[in-house]
Amino acid sequence: MFLINCPYCGERDHQEFKAGGEAHIERPKQPTELSDDEWAEYLFMRKNIKGIQFERWNHAHGCRKWFNMVRDTSNDQIKLIYKMGEKPPAE
């Protein structure tokens, strides 16, 4: 039952949000140049870490903005929230 601090709206109950999987996986600019393996890496492979994980979240029932979250999956503590396009912290 997270309390998530949307960078645009402030603290809201997690029911208003949608999780969007691992963050900082950029869509390849030239997909046609990629081998099947390289494309599969982008398409399917995601980390499932016990510990610090970088995630995308969407304030789906609020401002509809996407943002990034650093979360410790072992205890659900949210370490940091930052906007799309901002650089992830260096650990």
């Binding site: 039952m1 109950d13 949608k18 869509r27 046609t32 494309w39 599969a40 969407n58 509809r64 799309m84």
Partner: protein, 1001 residues
């Protein structure tokens, strides 16, 4: 009622108000303030139920929510009935009817009691081992087991009560209104923090409030008297809200807690009317203080479950709080000083205490001395080895314990008694703490698990934090509270406390008997009938994980979640396996702490409020014209319009013919609509659809197919170019919200450089779609001055127009293959425009049709429905829609995946048409398709996705997905059904008007 069992006085019971109630059909009475348990004990009723497995007679054991035995079914002659209610919690009211569970035909004569006699054959895992084999017999076993062992009866009528939900935001939530909770809440509120104090009982003050303990003084007064005064003053404190009869069920992360507030369960029927029964509080607290107290432990010894055997603290509470004596001849059995408090309390009330059996060698505390001086016999270093009495305890046998505590010696002492108070020490109630994600540590000294690592801003105080003596409770509370609230002082820093220290301790998880363990019944989990023997058996059979032992023996899996015996189970496992308690860990405590009613959980979300639904602006018209409705996502859509008692099939056949022969009209308002604007709108569409959009002229429409990045079809719909930088996209009815979400995702995260804005306008427009050879004439009647010529308004184009004063956007697009127009108007004109269409179409017998006919008509044309003919594993190539996939575009969502080795396989499932050899047989959607009936196991080639009887073709038609189907035109295949095999032939999926002549007719 024998008056002997009710002693005076008790200030918590109102003896001027007599309350009549029924238990197992018999009339009793108690007083206002009684629980069902205290009122039964006052009537000398101990036997209240039968155990789950062996059907042993069981009595009231506790005075609180941890009760494992006294679980009853409550009813009151109305629809209201509730199983699994703890008799120790329910307050009696005039007219209450309660009955025992787990016994059949009655608590005194119970057929399942035979299980007790054959219990040697019912060890741990017996049900798993026996009834699972052979598997096909389970249904027969289940009937017998359920009949004799049920857990109450579920209500068969609608719940007559109203339930409610409430959100609460506070600075500090204090759970538990014992002495620690009260002091903590008061100090929080006094420091200007918005504070909520909740307690599951109807009275504040926890266990301190009713105990006159000789050796516990605050400011030189009895601790109970001191606390009463403090409670009186609470009412005047600002910022403090107090809720009694409110039990916290769950403590989730980020200090989000669920509590049930009980508002009417203690009221008689006439006072319940018109009131909310229970309220679910959804509490978000900045800080949480847990003051949940501790639960007394029983001791585990042979036959420790007879009616009359109770927790020592419960015997004391019934005497002190309710003025009820639990027996005429009382014995206590203990490993600590607590039992002496109970014994001394009874003695002071003039009640007979026969003896105290103490496993310790001695104790020199003041309370023990006082008991000795009162002349009560104490048997030091003794343990109870057996008990007797079937429906009520009649006698105990005790023997001397060996030094190592593993065996007994000497001769047997038999003491006749009808009540045995058992005191095995105290277990801090850390359930909520662990639910919140808190980590425990084991304290070897007190043999308890204590809060160690806090996952949120919370703290545990008082006995749930391992402080058992008044002095340490108050002084630790003061220190911790100052730190937690960040204040310099509390208002009880200088309060004078006197309490005594307990020095002597001896803990033996499983007490020995003179009989070998195989011949004994030391119950660990009373509700689930798990004995120490079962736990040892599980260990012998190789179970090691505490979670596995729990499930195998069912220890701790009852409605009480084993609140009494879990620690002993751990202790016995640790001792037997030779590991430390701290290494063993605990099983997980799961919400709810005490069971919740379904009513509380759903609150007001029942009946038509169970889920939200959406209605189109034309809905009233559909109802007036007797439409049947179907749910599409949250929408209620007109399904078909049966006329003159038609069946669904008859109605759909009539509607489908009319739409092709003259004119039909469909409410298409539910289609998702997204308004797209911005200088990069065309480029955006190029990237999200498989086909090209740059060259689409203003005023033109185009069908688009949207893929996921994995190449699978995600959604489809027609998009219209309204202006240079302005498009209106339509989506499937069910996919609207997800498509918008997906497009936003790409815009915000992958292509933030694009100048594009998306707005959902689904609810802003109502859409009437008219189709059929006469649709053009109808539109001409509606707007005589609009040029409907092929040159001016061709298929796949758009015009702004006006019908009367109503502005509309008209798209000439078709999902039926007929010449047709979609008229979009502002929502509030939806019904008006629909009625105008009906009026104008009257001379052409315009026929309203629903979603079923729409599906049939499009299937005749081989048009797919995303979600019916696709299932997230179909590419456009699989759908034989190669024509819509642009070869020229460098990239679009999903493009690269269409060239993966897997998506290019020839033998993928591909969309085909199917015709049955017998044109009257309509296939079942979902039916499996095979090519070789003699194969074993038979190879499934695919399945039917859409199937109808076409009135326009006068034969059955179907769409299907078949492995390699693209190259199987004309091939004969088989559909094996339960009673017959249907012969089919693979065809082109376009069945009707293959040259699309009707579009321009």
């Amino acid at each position: 009622m024998s008056t002997y069992f009710r002693i005076k006085p008790s200030e918590f019971i109102d003896e001027t108000v007599r309350v009549s109630f029924k238990f197992n059909g018999k009339n009793y009475h108690g007083f206002k303030g009684d629980t069902l348990a205290s009122a039964l004990l006052a009537n000398n009723v101990h036997l209240v139920g039968r155990s789950f497995k062996y059907h042993r007679p069981r009595g009231i054991m506790t005075a609180g929510s941890e009760e494992p035995n006294a679980i009853v079914q409550i009813s009151d002659g109305t629809n209201r009935t509730e199983p699994n209610v703890r008799a120790t919690e329910i307050e009696i009211y005039e007219g209450l009817e309660a009955s025992s569970q787990n016994c059949w035909p009655s608590v005194n004569h119970d057929i399942g009691g035979i299980n007790n006699a054959i219990s040697a054959f019912l060890p741990a895992g017996f049900y798993y081992k026996t009834f699972m084999w052979p598997a096909s017999f389970w249904e027969k076993y289940e009937y017998v087991i359920r009949h004799s062992a049920g857990l109450g009866k579920s209500p068969t009528e609608r719940d007559p009560d109203v339930y409610d939900h409430r959100y609460i935001h506070c600075d500090v939530l204090v759970v538990g209104a014992g002495i620690s909770g009260i002091l903590a809440a008061r100090n929080a509120a006094k420091n200007n923090l918005k504070t909520l104090l909740v307690d599951e009982k109807n009275e504040l003050g926890g266990s301190t409030i009713y105990q006159n303990r000789e050796f516990n003084k605050i400011e030189n007064q009895n601790s109970s008297d001191w606390l009463k005064k403090e409670i009186k003053e609470l009412r005047n404190i600002k910022n403090l809200e107090i809720k009694t009869r409110t039990s916290v069920a769950a403590f989730h992360g980020y200090n989000y807690l669920l509590a049930r507030e009980n508002l009417t369960d203690h009221l008689e029927n006439k006072d319940k009317q018109g009131k909310i029964r229970q309220r679910l509080l959804k509490i978000r607290a900045k800080k949480v203080i847990l003051a949940t107290g501790a639960l007394e432990r029983p001791l585990i010894f042979n036959n420790n479950d007879r009616p009359g055997i109770m927790l020592s603290s419960a015997v004391k509470k019934y005497a002190d709080f309710y003025g009820v004596v639990s027996g005429k001849k009382n014995v206590f059995f203990t490993n600590n000083d607590s039992a002496y408090e109970s014994a001394f309390c009874l003695h002071n009330k003039g009640i007979n205490v026969e003896a105290i059996i103490d496993i310790r060698e001695s104790s020199n505390s003041k309370i023990v001395k006082a008991v000795e001086e009162a002349g009560i016999k104490i048997h030091w270093s003794h343990t109870i080895v057996d008990t007797r009495g079937y429906k009520r305890l009649s006698e105990i046998s005790a023997m001397m314990l060996s030094n190592d505590g593993l065996s007994v010696t000497g001769s047997k002492i038999n003491i006749s008694c009808d009540c045995l108070g058992v005191a095995g020490g105290w277990t801090p109630a850390v359930h909520l703490f662990t639910q919140s994600g808190g980590k425990l540590k084991f304290d070897e000294n007190d043999n308890v698990f204590l809060p160690n690592i806090y996952p949120s801003e919370q703290m545990s105080v008082g006995s749930c934090n391992g402080d058992f003596k008044l002095k340490e409770i108050i002084s630790n509370l003061s220190t911790n509270l100052k730190q937690f609230l960040k204040v310099d002082k509390t208002d009880f820093d200088n309060v004078l406390i006197e309490s005594e220290e307990e020095n002597s301790k001896r803990n033996i998880w499983l007490l020995p008997s003179d009989k070998p363990i195989g011949k004994t019944k030391p119950f660990v989990d009373y509700q689930n009938d798990a004995t120490a023997k079962d736990i040892k058996l599980a260990l012998r059979e190789g179970f090691r994980s505490i979670e596995h032992v729990k499930r195998y023996t069912t220890t701790g899996m009852g409605t009480d979640q084993g609140k009494l015996g879990n620690m002993h189970a751990l202790g016995i496992i640790a001792d037997t396996a030779g590991v430390k308690m701290s290494e063993l860990g605990t099983t997980t405590f799961r919400p709810p702490y005490t069971p919740l009613t379904f009513g509380t959980i759903v609150g007001r979300n029942v009946g038509e409020y169970f889920d939200v639904f959406r209605r189109t602006p034309m809905n009233d018209w559909h109802i007036e014209n007797k439409a049947e409705f179907e749910n599409v996502g949250q929408w209620k859509r007109a399904w078909y319009y049966p006329a003159n008692g038609e069946t669904m099939h008859e109605a759909v056949q009539r509607e489908s013919k009319a739409a092709r022969e003259s004119a039909g009209i469909l409410d298409a308002s539910t289609l998702g609509k997204i308004d797209i604007q911005g200088t990069d709108a065309s480029e955006f569409l190029n990237r999200v659809y498989t086909n090209a959009w740059s060259k689409l002229g203003i005023g033109k429409c185009r069908y688009g197919l949207m893929l996921n990045e994995d190449g699978m079809v995600y959604d489809d719909g027609v998009t219209t170019r309204l202006g240079e930088n302005h498009y209106l996209m339509t989506t499937t009815t069910g996919g609207a919200a997800n498509v918008l979400g997906k497009l936003e995702d790409y815009l915000q995260t992958e292509w933030p450089e694009l100048d594009v804005y998306l707005t959902s306008v689904t609810d802003h427009f109502a859409t009437a779609s008219i189709c059929g050879p006469n649709s053009k004439k109808i539109l001409n009647k509606l707007i005589p001055d609009l040029d409907l010529s092929e040159e001016s308004f061709p298929h796949m184009s758009f015009k702004n127009a006006q019908i009367g004063n109503i502005k509309c956007r008209i798209m000439r697009i078709s999902f039926t293959g007929e010449h047709s127009y979609e008229i979009n108007v502002q929502s509030n004109y939806g019904k008006a425009i629909w009625e105008k269409c009906m009026e104008a179409g009257k001379e052409f017998s315009i026929t309203p049709y629903g979603t079923e006919t729409m599906h049939l008509l499009r299937a005749e044309k081989g048009f797919i429905i995303v979600g019916q003919d696709t299932d997230g594993t179909m590419t456009p190539i699989d759908l034989q829609m190669d024509w819509i996939v642009s070869k020229k575009k460098y990239d679009f969502i999903g493009k690269r995946s269409l060239y993966r080795s897997d998506t290019m396989k020839e033998e993928r499932k591909q969309l085909v048409g199917l015709l049955t050899d017998d044109p009257n047989i309509v296939l079942e959607e979902g039916a499996q398709i095979v090519s070789d009936l003699n194969q074993s196991p038979v190879n499934m080639l695919g399945h039917v996705t859409s199937s109808y009887y076409s009135p326009n073709l006068k034969k059955s038609i179907a769409l299907a997905v078949v492995r390699g189907g693209k190259n199987m035109m004309g091939k004969k295949l088989f559909i094996p059904m339960e009673d017959k095999t249907i012969n089919v032939t693979i065809e082109n999926p376009v069945f009707f008007d293959t040259e699309n002549k009707r579009l321009n007719a």
